[in-house]
């Protein structure tokens, strides 16, 4: 019997998710033995036309990482959706927009203007990238840089999500094994824990029952005590609002959680929940003093929506009143 076909693709991505697959280390040999990788631009030499030539639905599972920002990425998302039985949003960028999603806090025009004109290293340049340029040898094409960054499920229907920036090798392996054995949860599920990170964190036992802080501290302002709950120390840790599954790797590395595994089930807007969790524990009842305390949180949007601006309720289309 033919081995199931598997594909990997990257959109607006840093490459970390590709690294995560490589990080399977020896385990990747078992994966490679069990499947046929038919498309993986970063590692294998298959071309887009090879994918186009495949029958629709002939790829058993396609893992797409990265957000969608260019016309090429959008085209590939649609193509791979057609050719795949299961399309899995791999990583925080595919799930909710990720770090590239922060670009939605500004505008395409502002980005182009800064990157190609205002940046100190640009000199007097005013040229902007064009989608079509005519040169003596013929016409050159570049993908179009779209107005906004989109999460994968804002472009095509997604079957499963593997959260994380990047997803851990353990979770990746579990997901591959689940696909191969056919033991998958309901379509649309996020393939990680369904409880908040605090449950997995070894510092959880040091978290006081009534958690209140009088100051919020940024990581460069304090010496973090390694065996005490980070939130209890006043350090912004998104643990309570974030899906578990990563085994609190960042906290083990003495850094607070930044929320890359995204929201838990039934939470639509991650940033709102994270903001609520942090604001609620500030021990202050005076509006003026609160404003002072929040001065150490100069960028709430970037802090709470670090990985999910495109998925935010504030950037969704307004429905008619």
């Amino acid at each position: 019997m033919a081995k199931p076909k598997v594909a990997f693709y990257w959109c607006a991505s840093c490459g970390g998710c590709e690294e995560a697959v490589v990080d399977l280390a020896e385990a990747i040999l078992d994966v490679v033995a069990a499947v046929d990788i038919v498309f993986w631009p970063v590692a294998l030499d298959f071309k887009r036309r090879d994918v186009e030539a495949m029958p629709d639905g002939s790829i058993a599972a396609c893992f797409v990482n990265g957000a969608v920002r260019t016309s090429e990425q959008e085209h590939m998302a649609h193509l791979l959706r057609r050719k795949s039985q299961l399309l899995i949003a791999y990583g925080a960028c595919a799930q909710g927009g990720g770090i590239p999603g922060l670009a939605n806090l500004t505008s395409r025009e502002a980005i182009m203007e800064y990157a190609y004109h205002q940046a100190p290293s640009m000199g007097d340049g005013t040229a902007r990238p064009q989608t079509r340029t005519h040169v003596p040898e013929g016409e050159l094409e570049l993908p179009e840089f779209q107005e906004t960054v989109k999460a994968l499920d804002q472009v095509v229907a997604v079957d499963y999500y593997l959260p994380g920036c990047p997803p851990t090798p353990k979770l990746t392996l579990q997901a591959v094994q689940a696909i191969l054995s056919g033991k998958l949860p309901e379509r649309g599920a996020v393939l990680a824990s369904d409880r908040a990170l605090c449950y997995e964190c070894e510092l959880n036992s040091t978290k006081p029952e009534k958690l209140l802080v009088s100051q919020l501290k940024r990581v460069h302002e304090v010496l973090i005590e390694p065996d005490k709950c980070l939130l209890a120390q006043g350090i912004l840790c998104m643990g309570p609002a974030t899906r578990g599954g990563c085994e609190a790797l960042c906290v083990k590395g003495n850094m607070p959680c930044t929320g890359c595994f995204g929201p838990l089930d039934r939470v639509q807007d991650y940033g709102g929940k994270a903001l609520s969790a942090i604001a609620s524990i500030v021990d202050c009842t005076d509006e003026a003093v609160l404003a002072k305390i929040f001065e150490s949180l100069p960028d709430p949007a970037g802090t709470f929506y670090r990985y999910s601006v495109p998925a935010s309720l504030l950037t969704k289309k307004r429905e008619a009143a």
């Binding site: 499920d153 997604v158 903001l275 604001a279 509006e287 709430p300 309720l313 008619a320």
Partner: protein, 147 residues
């Protein structure tokens, strides 16, 4: 005062706590105090029940302003719920500015069960404030695909 050429009627959602502010609004109604019809009231047991995502969802669904009304500090039926509302609202307003939403569109007020006039004054004044601000313009971001 600016005239409103487009005859814009604000849509305002008001989350009112059961024990104080909702009762105060009810008293305003029973006392036949003239209040603007732009306010749609949602009764919650405590202003501390109001999750910031309720406010965001209200904006997404067409609200131009959101009012959160609770008991006066020290009088919360559940001791400190209103303080939670205060902390969340202060931070939420700061964040909304980054999304291009005027922080004034979210308002937190303490209204007791007997303050019928205050309830009328707050809702009237807030409606006018939103009318001056105009309709909420949210950046139209990416849309989810129907699955």
């Amino acid at each position: 005062m600016k005239t409103n050429e487009n005859n814009f009627e604000p849509h305002i959602i008001a989350f009112m706590c059961n024990w104080c502010s909702y009762t105060g609004a009810d008293l305003a109604g029973v006392s036949r105090l003239k209040s603007p019809p732009n306010i749609r009231v949602i009764r919650v047991m405590c202003s501390g029940r109001v999750d910031p995502s309720f406010v965001l969802r209200a904006f997404q669904l067409g609200a131009d302003g959101v009012l959160i009304a609770g008991c006066h500090p020290g009088d919360c039926h559940y001791q400190e719920g209103n303080f939670k509302a205060l902390r969340r609202t202060v931070l939420l307003r700061k964040m909304l500015r980054q999304f291009g939403v005027e922080p004034e569109r979210v308002r937190l007020e303490w209204i007791s069960a007997s303050e019928a006039e205050r309830s009328r004054d707050v809702t009237t004044q807030f409606t006018e404030q939103i009318r001056q601000l105009g309709p909420l313009r949210l950046a139209v971001g990416p849309q989810p695909v129907a699955v």
